[in-house]
């Protein structure tokens, strides 16, 4: 049987089709707004390539966790800064031109400073994952937010956590030798070290300060000098390669200090743990870290372990994840990808269920999360345990460290 369409039915169908066509652009707008375009800038090649790649690992698993939290997914646009300030600036420009509605990055303070200038000029929010130089959030920027501690915050927390570690372990060294890498980061930390330390009643006196070449291939003289100082503890600001060189020399020169206290990278990194095996056990690092007792921290840890079973969750992953969490949370509350609405929403962030140590994620008027706390983590059996602050710990500190010749 054939049905004939009359004029009225035809007109109704035409009107319906016209309305659907007319409304279609709105549905496109809704589809665009369903995902926020986030430009993630990281040093994925060049001298910081290892760290940039490490940060990128968590970018690849973040959308799954955001979905579980009921947050909108993010459309990630990747940008490689090539560990270079000028490239970082041009990549930020390019990502914005390609439609990025928010930027995240960029591990290094110099590169982040350049990206912050671009973000502010273009009126696109930037959520910094890792960068400790204080001036970045002291410029009066309206679109720049940092969920990472500044260098003075890191130093202050390091001394506070050291006191807690000494009290909990019952071992308080009376003398220490301070060794630092002689580069911008190491010298900045060395300059801040004395000033910040004077605000705390530390049990130890620094008997010698030894600076060493960041490109050093042999640190035997440096360790011999440190050993000769007779210090009970070794306080360090180093990087990965020199941390491994220093450990080798400690073993070869048969010197096992009571405590090895690091205020920089290197001593807790996977490569350090894997390369040195049982010789890696013992050092305590005072770093921006995560609270293993937080629900979201456990969720991130599980997702990370599933995706990367051989890699421990670390600072790079935690703060890159939290930067993306801030972006998704702000996008959900703003209900729009409009940069100003996003920036206003980020300013009003109040995430209590987060990963990093401290009360949560909030930003002050300068765009800095000034409530962040650092942790003390100790290497134990190829794993990392949090030993301070007590509220965010999952183990007690073990000092003095086991002598190298008894392992």
């Amino acid at each position: 049987m054939t049905q004939r369409i009359n004029r009225r039915q035809f007109n109704k169908a035409l009107a319906a089709a016209g309305a659907a066509t007319a409304l279609n652009p709105f549905s496109i707008v809704r589809a665009q707004a369903a995902k926020l375009k986030v430009g993630v800038l990281l040093p994925r090649s060049g001298v910081q390539a290892g760290i940039g790649q490490d940060c990128h690992r968590v970018v690849q698993i973040t959308n799954g966790i955001l979905g579980d939290l009921g947050l909108p997914g993010l459309d990630i646009l990747n940008g490689d800064t090539e560990s270079n300030v000028d490239v970082a600036r041009s990549r930020a420009e390019r990502l914005i031109s390609e439609g990025a509605q928010l930027l995240v990055g960029a591990f290094d303070s110099g590169q982040t400073t350049a990206i912050a200038q671009v973000a502010e000029q273009r009126g696109i929010p930037l959520v910094i994952n890792i960068a400790a130089a204080p001036p970045i959030t002291e410029q009066g920027y309206k679109f720049v937010f940092r969920n990472f501690p500044t260098a003075p915050m890191i130093l202050g927390d390091a001394f506070a956590n050291q006191l807690e570690v000494f009290a909990a372990s019952g071992v308080a060294p009376k003398t220490a030798v301070f060794m630092h890498v002689n580069d911008t980061f190491g010298v900045a930390m060395q300059k801040g070290f004395t000033g910040v330390m004077s605000k705390f009643t530390m049990p130890y006196k620094v008997v010698d300060t030894i600076a060493y070449d960041p490109a050093a291939r042999d640190l035997s003289v440096e360790v011999a000098k440190a050993k000769a100082s007779g210090a009970e503890a070794l306080v360090l600001v180093s990087r990965l390669n020199d941390a491994m060189l220093l450990t080798r020399e400690l073993v070869k020169q048969r010197w096992s200090p009571q405590a090895i206290l690091s205020m920089g990278p290197g001593w807790y990194e996977d490569q350090y743990l894997k390369t040195l095996g049982k010789l890696a056990d013992g050092p305590i690092s005072f770093v921006p870290w995560y609270d293993p007792n937080k629900k979201l921290a456990r969720r991130l840890e599980a997702a990370h372990a599933k995706a990367y079973p051989d890699i421990n969750l670390n600072t790079n992953h935690i703060y890159t994840f939290e930067a993306l969490l801030v972006a998704a949370d702000a996008f959900k509350r703003a209900g729009s990808a409009d940069p100003k609405a996003l920036a206003d929403a980020i300013r009003a962030t109040d995430i209590k269920d987060n990963v990093s140590t401290g009360p949560g994620i909030q930003f002050n008027a300068k765009g800095q999360n000034d409530k962040l706390k650092n942790s003390a983590i100790q290497n134990r059996g190829g794993k990392l345990v949090v030993v301070a602050p007590k509220a965010a710990s999952n183990a007690r500190p073990e000092l003095p460290i086991k002598p190298y010749d008894k392992r």
């Binding site: 060049g46 001298v47 390539a49 290892g50 002689n182 030894i210 600076a211 060493y212 070449d213 490109a215 291939r217 042999d218 640190l219 035997s220 003289v221 440096e222 011999a224 000098k225 050993k227 000769a228 100082s229 390669n241 491994m244 060189l245 080798r248 073993v251 070869k252 020169q253 048969r254 390369t275 010789l279 190298y404």
Partner: protein, 290 residues
């Protein structure tokens, strides 16, 4: 500061200096005979270090065993490099030779970056963390073995030049180029052999250094510079001078680091170089040229 630290540091500097000396010996041999300054010397050493890394990973053989095949590979590399690339430049102006070898150095560094990346890589031998204690003296076992091997290789090289016919022929070329040609020596082949021997020295030194330090492509230029400092201090073209220069630089750097600040220890090596250039421009064991 206890006195034993100076003893320990001086011993460490002495042992490292012997390996440095062997590396510089290669440079001195090449210049002494071929009269070409090898600006790719440190880069050739990093080639040897990466070869050690790869062979150690594949065969799990000790670097002190691997130094023999690696020296042989570097010998062939040096021989072919001289025959194919450097020989046409022998009679060209020095700046042409300089640019050629700088280009070779840059190519080697970039090839290493492409293949191995910029990160430091090392090997772990069974004695990597061992040390010997003699009273207050604690010495790194890896450095002792490397220094011992350096002495053996250097002695073999001295014996080769002194007692073999080819060695004597090479010395004849170095002493009198025209005379060597007149008596029928194949000078081109002898030059290539010399370049190969210099490369073998640096290959052996690279294999030994791998037991002591990690390798990155970036250390090549630093070791080229170090080799120059050593041979200029000891006397360019003098084989015993290269070994002596290595020892002096090793000990000076080590003691300078203790007495002043470790981050500025190479300043003392360059200070020594300046003093030698001022008061004995031909180097400590170098011969004065007219």
């Amino acid at each position: 500061m206890p006195a034993e630290i100076y003893l320990n540091v001086a011993a460490s500097g002495l042992l490292t200096g012997l390996v440095y000396g062997l590396m510089a010996l290669g440079l001195s041999v090449i210049f002494g005979v071929v009269r070409v300054v090898n600006f790719a010397h440190g880069e050739m050493m990093t080639v040897a270090m990466y070869l050690t890394l790869v062979l150690f990973g594949a065969l799990q053989l000790d670097p002190l065993v691997l130094l023999v095949p690696i020296a042989a590979v570097l010998f062939v590399f040096g021989y072919l490099l001289q025959r194919a690339l450097i020989n046409p430049f022998i009679n060209r102006p020095e700046h042409s030779q300089f640019m050629l070898l700088v280009a070779v150095a840059l190519i080697l560094v970039n090839l290493q970056l492409l293949v191995f990346g910029p990160d430091a890589k090392g090997i772990r031998t069974p004695y990597s963390f061992d040390s010997f204690q003699l009273g207050p003296l604690v010495v790194d076992a890896s450095k002792v073995y490397a220094a011992g091997a350096a002495l053996v290789v250097a002695a073999a090289l001295f014996a080769f030049f002194r007692y073999t016919l080819i060695g004597k022929a090479i010395r004849a070329c170095a002493d009198n180029y025209e005379g060597a040609r007149v008596v029928g020596l194949d000078v081109k082949r002898l030059y290539a052999l010399t370049f190969g021997l210099g490369a073998a020295c640096v290959g052996a030194a690279g294999a030994m250094l791998m037991a002591v330090i990690d390798v990155t492509p970036a250390i090549g230029p630093a070791y080229t510079l170090l080799a120059f400092v050593i041979v200029i201090t000891g006397g360019l073209g003098s084989m015993p001078g290269a070994l002596l220069g290595g020892l002096l630089i090793g000990v000076t750097e080590a003691l300078g680091g203790v007495l002043f600040t470790p981050s500025a220890k190479s300043m003392f090596a360059f200070g020594l170089l300046v003093l030698v250039l001022l008061f004995r421009p031909q180097g400590i064991l170098g011969r004065k040229t007219a």
